[in-house]
Amino acid sequence: MVSPGAPPRLELSGISKRFAGVAALEGVDFRLAAGEVHGLVGENGAGKSTLMKIIAGVHAEYEGEMRLDGRPVRFRNPREARDAGIGMVHQELSIVPALSVAENVLLGRQPLNRLGLVAWRRMRAAARAQLEALGLDIDPAVPAGSLPLGLQQMVELARVLLSGARILILDEPTSALSPPEVEWLFALLDRLRADGRSVVFISHFLDDVLRVSDSVTVFRNGRRVGSAAAREAGKPWLIERMIGAGHERLEESYSEAIPLAPRSRAPVVLAVEELGVEGLFGPASLELHAGEVLGLYGFMGSGQLDLARALSGKLRPDRGTVRVDGRVARLGRGTPGAKRAGIAYVPESRRAMLFAGESVTRNISIAVLERINRLLLRPRQERRIAEGHVRRLGIRPARVDLPVGQLSGGNQQKVALARWLTHLPRVLLLSEPTRGMDVGAKDDVVRIVRGLREQGVGILVVSSEPETVLSLADRILVMRRGLLAEEFAGEAVGKDRLLAAA
C-alpha cells in the first residue's frame, strides 16, 4: 500500500504527442500508484495505446515529463523501459510460436551450462516452476504456437512478469480469453496488487475494467476526460465520458439514438447456420434479407471480421453451412467459390483489395473479366465500364488510366466498391467500409450502399466502430468474444447501447 507522502510509482505530466502533425495526445496527466490496478478506457484512437507506448519506451519523441518513483526518466527505447521495470503485453502477441513454452517464458534469459550451451533440463524445470507459481498448468516442452490463443497470451504475460516488471501494462488482455481464463487473470492481478506491483489495464470490456480496477481513467480524442475510483464509477459514467456530449464534436457523434428498421419481410438472400472457425468465432447463425443492410458490430478481435472473411471464402470454416438464395455456397473452394455463389467482399485494408500500381480501369474490371470476354480481353469495354463507374460515383480525379495508388483513401474505397457494381452480387460484405475517411467520402459510401440496398442486394456491414454500423445499418447484430450476443431491430439505438452490449 502507498505510504503517505511517497511519490506515486509512475507520474506523467503534460504529455503531448503528434504523428505527422496530428495530435494523438494533448497535455495528458496520469498517475499510477504502487499496488494499484488502473483501468484505461476510451474509443479506438482516443490515445490510450499511444500513452502506454510512451511509457514502455516505444515512442521516444514526446513532450512532457515522466517520473518513476519520483525520479525523472525518459526512455529512448523499449529496452530502457524494460530495464527500469516496465513490462507491456501488446494486443498483438510477440511470442515465438515455433519455440517451446519454456524458451518463450525464459526468452533472452535461458540458463546456460558450463560450455555456454542452453541447459535444457534446467530451463524446463525453471519454466514449469514459474508457470505453476502463477497458477498455470502448461507443459513447458510444447511449442507455444500449438496452444490456444488465450494460453499463448498467458505465456506472454508470464514472460513479462518473470522478467521482473514492477509496472505491467496489459493492452486488451481479455479479448482472446475464455471465461475461466479471465478468472485466472483477475486472480493473478489481485496477487500482483498484493505484491505491490502496479498494473495498467486497457480494455473495451467495461465490466471487466470495473471489476478488476482500483481506479479508472477515460480518454477521448487524445485527452484525459476523467478519472475516478472504480467503485464510484459505473458503466454509464464511463460510456458518457467515452462518447462525449453531442455538441462537443463537429462530426455527428451518434450519441443520440438512431431509429432502426423492423426485421425485413423480404426473402432471405444469405442464411448462415452454425458457421464457425475454431479459436476465432462461432458457431454463429444469421439471416440477411434482400435489400437489407445488416450491421455486425463488435470490439476489435471479437470475431466479426473473421466471420466476414469466412463468408468471402478467404478463411476456411470448420463447421456450419452458408446458403445464398437457398443454395449451399461452397466456401471450401476459396474466394472464386464464394464469388460464384454471389458473395462479394470488400476487405478492411485497401492494400488487400487494390492493385496500387494498376490503373483504375484494371482495378474495376478485374471482377468482371469473365463476364465480358471469353478468351480475348476487350480493353475498350473495360474502359467504358470503368468510366461509367467513375462518373456515377464521383471518383476524383476522373481519370481511369491513373494508377489507383495515386488516389485518396476515399476514392480508393469507391474504386473497390465499383468493382462489384457492374454485375450486382446477391450479398455484399463490407468490412470497415468508412474507416479513416473524411466526412464527404463517408457520405458518398453511405449513398452507394443505400443505392445497392434499393436494388435488392443484401449487405453486411462489419465494423468495430459503432458510428459505421449506426450510419449504415437497418438492423444491427452485436458480436462478443466470437459469438453473436444481441440483436437490435425496430427500435431507436444509440452508441451507448451498442457499447454496453459488446
Partner: protein, 341 residues
Amino acid sequence: MPNELTEATPRGRLAETLRGQLRNLAPFATLIALIALFSALSPSFATLANLGNVLQQVSITAIIAVGLTYVILCAEIDLSVAAVANATGILLAVLTVQDASTGIATLPLPGGLAILVALLGSLALGGVTALGVTRIGIPSFIMTLAMLQIASGIGALLVRGQIAYSVPDLLLTLGSGSIGPVPWVVVVAGVVLLLGHLVLTYTRFGRYIYMVGGNREAAEHSGVGVRAVVGTALVISALCSGLAGMLGVAYFGSAQQNQFDNYLLDAISAVVVGGTSLFGGQGGIGNTILGVLVLGVLNNGLDHIRMDSFLKILIRGLVLLLALVINVYAQRLRSRRRSAA
C-alpha cells in the same frame, strides 16, 4: 496530391517518365551499348552472319525464358527448367531408335508420337510442381529445387551415363535445319515468344498473371482463382522447358546428362536482365526478348574480342548482379512514387 502529374513541369514530367521506365530502358540501353562496343572492338562482330549466330545461340534459352517469365510475373520461381529440359530431351531420345552401340534401352515410337509423349512427360513434371506449390503449399523455390533433382534423376536413369544421338526427323529439322538463311530453331523461338506475348497481353489468363503477381491477396479478394493461375504458369514453364529440351537435343546433336546445366542460370538471367520484376506483376515477353539479346550479344561479343573464357564466367555473374541491383532499385522507385501520391 492527385494533381501531382499535371502540376509537374515538363522537364520534371520527362524525368518522372524516364524513371518509371527504368526497367525497360536499362536493358535496351545496355543492348545498344554492348552492340556499339563490340562493333568497335571487333570487325567480325557486326556482320549479318554473326547476327544469325547470336540468334541461333539464344533460341533455346529464349524458349525456356518464355515459360519462366510467366512464373516470375506471378512472383514465383522455377529452378527446375534446365533439368526438365534435359529429362524431356533424354526421354525423346529413349523413344527413338538408337544405334545399338550406344547401349541405351530404348522404347521406339513413331516420330510424332515420341514427340507427343515426351511433351506429355514435361507436362507431368510441371503438373507435379504445380500441385506441390498450389495444393500442398510448398514454396516454389524449394518445390522446384526438388523437381530439379527429380528430373535430373529421371534423365540419369534413362541414359545411365551413355550418349544418344538420334532424334525424330521432324525435330532434327527444327533443331538444326534451316529455311534459307534462317535456322528453324530461331523461327520456333520466335513463334513461342510471339505466342507467349499474345497470351500475356490479350487474354484473361494473361491479365490474371499480372494481377496475381501485382497483389496476390487483392486478386484473391477479387474472386480470381489464384492457385489455378500460379499452377498453370508452372505447367507452362515446364512445357516450354520440354520443348526447349527436345530442340536442344537436335541442336547439340546428342542427348546426355547435364547438357543443359548452363541454361538454368541463363534463362533466369535473361528474364531478370530484361527487366521483369522479381517481385512479380511487371514486365513481360518484350523484356525477356531484350534480356535474351543482351546476354546473347554479351556472350558472343566476348568471344569475338577473344576474352579469356574463364573471365567470361565471372563477367556473366557480374552482369547478373548489376541487373538484380537495377531490378530492386526500379521496384523501390515505383513503390516510393506510389506512397508519395
